[in-house]
Symmetry: C2
Subunit: 646 residues, 2 copies
């Protein structure tokens, strides 16, 4: 799944399309039906929300507290990428439902800052109470604040909540459950000891680590929940000190078994003291009054918690030690993630086979297709739903980087158009994310060239050998070069980390400037693309594991091993553009798919899918596509081996 390229902080950067929210109206997506505030009376499309009442209520609150301005970010108290409905304060206040955008309200003005992906959407959803500030980056927004004499303070309770009042959705208390040991890399006790050992080795001698990001606490205790769509998280904070463990959570969501699992009836250094979620600020403030040093990751800590810790007692890193430790998967976690990708490939292949038969009939649309894919994923072992809202985009819709169809708004799939599918699953053993682009008819020469150059980018980055600890941002150009060569490019990032039944965009791994250097055991997506406005979109995304590279001369070098296992569309590959090395790599990858997914299909009696897989992983040849002697021989031999197991 593609990430935004803009932005400064993870909670501003980590974006993902959430479907239309609160507007189940049928709208033609191709029409340029936007507001016009320059005429009198203004023109407002039906999609616009009247926000006068919301703004009046908020300004009343601001007046009482004597505030000059109130900032409403799009995230929640944990800087989550995906947020619950009750945390969608900015959407409620502005009408704008895009996942990126910050609102600022003063007594006289109201403004929304968002980036180019969302300008049209904002003009369709906001009424004329709101100025739209078109941002290429967040810098000027920050600058505007800095150049004024505004003092940033946190206000409790949330003024939007007060304005929202009784209309605000209730907290849904979802049970928190223990992830079976078979699906965890280590016990929570081992993880706690590891983090404490890092605290001891730290030159500034922290006495505690404060965890704000929801996946930090979920990972540390091997607990999961359902408070956030697509993410198995629960609202929580953790204050892990050298002698105690405090988990801030809705206690009623923990049953007696889980409390026992957490060893919660004692107060020793390996006992988890369960405290109420609402007490975190008070509790951190009390702890900070002692002779302590609190280690935080600034990217996921709100200003409200940050400000209660005196500066001299703070140890600030961009990411907490839990975030950084979680990024490197141990061998058990690697095996779990790999296994989930094999089953995920089965689901995606089943869907692609079904599409190949049904799209020509004209009965498939983007939304019904996505639903069927969810169904296929749901049938896989350990399935726990999709890992994000499926991007199922046909023809020109695929040129919008974050388009998702809805029941009301969708396009029919056709043999005359390209189709882009970016989707993923949550499984108890791993989280997946894969993008394939297909064409069932006759693609244009330009479509084939663009597709092949995107594929070359994917291949060139995947097979790169690089020194240990190289930053992703340094090497991501290898995914762009084949496109640059002819004057093409793409406007989003090249990849992001991914979790073990955690976040589909798991920081801080990836290819953006604020990601940490690549290390053995990390998983990242690799996802170049190309988008032709108003016509089509291409993206080829795989998840890859960072592994040691064996180089001719000794040294600490790494490379990628792709764990996504779905073949690319042969109909769109122009083999003549591939170098011998790229072709060799591709055929080797196809051989791996056969070896790993073939037996799984056979075992499950998915013989039609097995046949399809064999056809689509037939070795490609630069000269004559169907007669490469050595490669074909290999293919036949592996077919024979696989055949025995049917």
């Amino acid at each position: 799944m593609a990430q935004a390229h803009w932005g400064c902080c993870p909670w501003l950067v980590l974006l993902c399309a959430l479907g239309a929210w609160g507007h189940p109206k049928s709208v033609d997506l191709t029409a340029e039906d936007v507001r016009n505030c320059l005429i009198s009376p203004p023109y407002l499309p039906v999609t616009v929300v009247n926000t006068t009442a919301q703004l009046t209520a908020l300004r009343q609150q601001m007046h009482i507290q004597n505030l000059f301005a109130y900032i409403i970010p799009e995230t929640d108290a944990h800087m989550s990428e995906y947020i619950g409905t009750r945390d969608k304060r900015r959407a409620w206040m502005t009408g704008f439902t895009g996942s990126a955008g910050t609102a600022v309200v003063t007594m006289g003005k109201a403004g929304l800052w968002t980036d180019s992906r969302y300008w049209t959407q904002a003009e369709r959803q906001m009424d004329c109470n709101w100025e739209l500030h078109k941002e290429g980056s967040w810098e000027s927004y920050n600058m505007a604040l800095m150049n004024s004499n505004i003092k940033l303070v946190s206000i409790t309770p949330n003024l939007v909540d007060q304005a929202w009042g009784s209309e605000k959705p209730l907290v849904l208390s979802q049970p928190i459950y223990v992830l079976q040991e078979a699906f965890t890399g280590n016990t929570w006790q081992k993880k706690v000891s590891d983090i404490r050992s890092q605290m001891q080795k730290h030159p500034q001698a922290p006495t505690a680590v404060l965890l704000s990001a929801l996946d930090e606490t979920a990972w540390l205790f091997n607990l999961r929940g359902s408070d956030i769509p697509y993410n198995p998280f629960f609202y929580s904070y953790t204050l892990l000190t050298d002698s105690s463990i405090r988990l801030f959570v809705n206690r009623s969501c923990l049953n007696s078994e889980t409390l026992k699992y957490l060893n919660s009836s004692c107060t020793g250094s390996m006992c988890v003291q369960v405290e109420d979620y609402s007490q975190v600020r008070h509790n951190v403030q009390a702890y900070a009054s002692g002779n302590v040093k609190i280690w935080i990751g600034t990217s996921y800590t709100t200003y409200g918690l940050y400000e209660v810790i005196p500066t001299e007692k703070l140890i600030e890193d961009t990411y907490s030690p839990v975030m950084v430790t979680k990024a490197v998967k141990n061998s058990k976690e690697q095996a779990l993630l790999r296994a989930s990708h094999v089953r995920d490939a089965v689901a995606v292949i089943r869907y692609l086979v079904w599409l190949e038969k049904n799209v020509p009939k004209g009965t498939v649309d983007e939304f019904s297709g996505a639903e069927l894919l969810n169904k296929f994923r749901g049938k896989e072992q350990f399935s726990s739903g999709p890992s994000f809202e499926t991007i199922s985009a046909s023809g020109l819709n695929a040129a919008l980087a974050h388009y998702s169809p809805t029941k009301e708004l969708h396009r029919k799939l056709s043999s005359d158009e390209m189709y882009l599918l970016d989707s993923g699953g949550q499984y108890w053993d791993g989280t997946t994310d894969i993008t394939r682009t297909v064409h069932w008819g006759t693609p244009s020469a330009f479509q084939k060239e663009a597709y092949t150059r995107v594929l070359i980018g994917n291949i060139d980055l995947s097979r790169l050998v690089f020194p240990a600890n190289t930053s992703g941002r340094m090497m991501e150009v290898f995914a762009r070069r084949a496109l640059w060569d002819v004057g093409l490019n793409y406007g989003h990032g090249t990849g992001h980390g991914i979790g073990n039944f955690l976040c589909v965009h798991e920081w801080p791994v990836g290819f953006q400037y604020n990601n940490i250097p690549m290390a053995k055991g990390m998983f990242t997506s690799i996802e170049p693309g190309y988008y032709q406005d108003g016509e089509f979109g291409i993206r080829l995304e795989d998840v890859a594991l960072v592994v040691e590279a064996k180089t001719k001369y000794p040294g600490s070098y790494l490379t990628f091993e792709v764990v996504s296992l779905v073949p690319y569309d042969r109909n769109l590959i122009d083999v003549s553009l591939l170098s011998p090395e790229q072709l060799q790599y591709l055929n080797h990858y196809y051989q791996t798919i056969r070896e790993k997914v073939g037996p799984e299909l056979q075992q499950r009696q998915l013989l039609e899918e097995f046949e399809w897989l064999q056809q689509h992983t037939e070795p490609l040849s630069a000269k004559a596509p169907h007669t490469a002697p050595l490669a074909s021989l290999l293919a036949v031999s592996s077919l024979a081996i696989l055949g025995c197991r049917v």
Copy 2:
């Protein structure tokens, strides 16, 4: 010339070996003769400087002013890369002459922070008064300061100068001269108008620009001087306001003609008011008391000037508008720089031809060779000396990134060793910088492979097509990939900007993280390398112009056009490692060298050199090095054309 990869600010990053200073003793460079402060009495090699008197004098001054610590950076008041002898305060205070390193003196302690390139040198030059802080980066130094309660203030006059007293070298008043119009891109009046126009368009409406870097003032007024070795600069500041121009300089260095040229007898908006150099702080402070906004580039502004401008009257960018404007050369400046590179190639080729004949005799050493090269450069039209101290390094000496030979310390050149030559010239029309590595005997297979992979890196980056405004740091990996593939790498940056008879390291252009994005008209070096400790070093450096690329599909794309014109060593190229595209590029480059340098050699009757050039630019072929039919045909035909002009 290679740059350091470490560091945070240009004045810490832009480093270059200055020869041994103040120690004309003969020392064996390969011996590990360093101080040992752990034994009693300490062991001190002869190269150590006794700094007790210096430290006592400084601490007396600190005591009088009640200071806790005094920081002594290695640069001057203009953040110059190269500094005059009188500005070498840190070297005088510590004994350590390396170009990178900051000293901090408290009443009880004295410490020097420097990076790994200089650790051995520091242990050889400093006595036991000094602690050596080994820095991989400057971060921990900054952190150490931040975590204390130290308040940074500027102290006038300089306490080191007061301690130095009468021993301090005098200011040498060198004349400042006007660069002839033929060698300038625009008149100073046009340049002043351009900068003022940028001020008017700026959203924060600056009323003035303050210039601290010496090349900013030199470029703006088309003036040159000789205050700094290798750089045609003079001590100066400029305060360019919307209605006045103030040049702070040693007035006695300007003759009446130059004063007239500057229109200095009036006070209008196009008159240059010449003020005394020492008055800049006072003058800026006075100006800043008005209703003004002063635009500065923080990278080249000292704290002493920064602190006299109230924060609300400051407009801070990393680089001043003059720095950024100067970076993009107009067509006249481009033509001038190109022309200087043709003549520079003649000088380097003459030297290489001479070496080929004389090295086997065993009569050439690193130092005498460098002196001869300087002589050849000096004979070229518009020559104004070398642009930096020549790095002339044979065998294992080339593995030290910034080694320069001296009259006392040098190695003999030999047909059994590789030889690395990194040198450049100052010419009235341009500054040059080129590195070639050669072997006159039989290189090992590993040397050939490493050399060829460095060459591939140079080629791959030089022929890269990239979108306009791409940052150099994003693309520099293309210069490393062929090395990474087999587990090799290099530890320095990949290139830097260069001036028109200005700085050989001209910021802010280059491939490091703090360089600005690439734009048409910029010049940068491209210089991958490989260093085998204790054995040999390879670097291949060319200067390239950023030009528009014609891509298959329309778009704003750029590429490089190499303007350095000296062939690589055929003896070290393993053609079988080059792809057809790389080979084609290389042969095309050789063709360009023939076309541009050939006629120049013939015109000058340098027939032996012409012959050498023809041999060394003979097209290479992957299959059979001497029988490529088409390429040879091309070569013969161009030989024929060139032949007519003899």
